[in-house]
Symmetry: C2
Subunit: 80 residues, 2 copies
């Protein structure tokens, strides 16, 4: 089953990468851009037949490796 | 307006980051994980009133900075 894990910084956590992209956009003339935040999407296949098991496994993987739960939130979707 | 730019590697392009995550998942005991691919999501605000203009501006920013069109595809959504 195909699983998609969205990993994003928690609200209120500074996003240095987003800040850097924002500055770069401004220097390229895109003054109208603001509040740039960067997130990750991890697509992977899980060897299981049940969507529920795939979603649970995706959450386990997120807690174990894909997300740093001190500063990041994650959301898991089964996409196929 | 809030714009979301999805940036992902083109099909067929090797994803070293995905491979590294896959190996790490296997070493943590998640043998059932495979085909790991990592994408980026860039959320930003664009000072404009029209969704169409925001989407077009998002695409311009993607072409100028956010995506490397040699190896990456991008998709733009207006989310609010």
């Amino acid at each position: 089953m195909k699983v998609r894990v969205f990993v994003s910084l928690k609200d209120g956590v500074l996003d240095p990468q987003g800040k850097a992209v924002e500055h770069a956009l401004h220097s390229l003339g895109f003054e109208e851009a603001s509040d740039v935040r960067i997130s990750r999407v991890v697509d992977l296949c899980v060897k299981t037949d049940s969507a529920e098991a795939a979603k649970e496994k995706g959450a386990e993987m997120a807690r174990a490796l894909l997300a740093n739960e001190v500063i990041e939130d994650f959301r898991v979707e089964v996409v196929g």
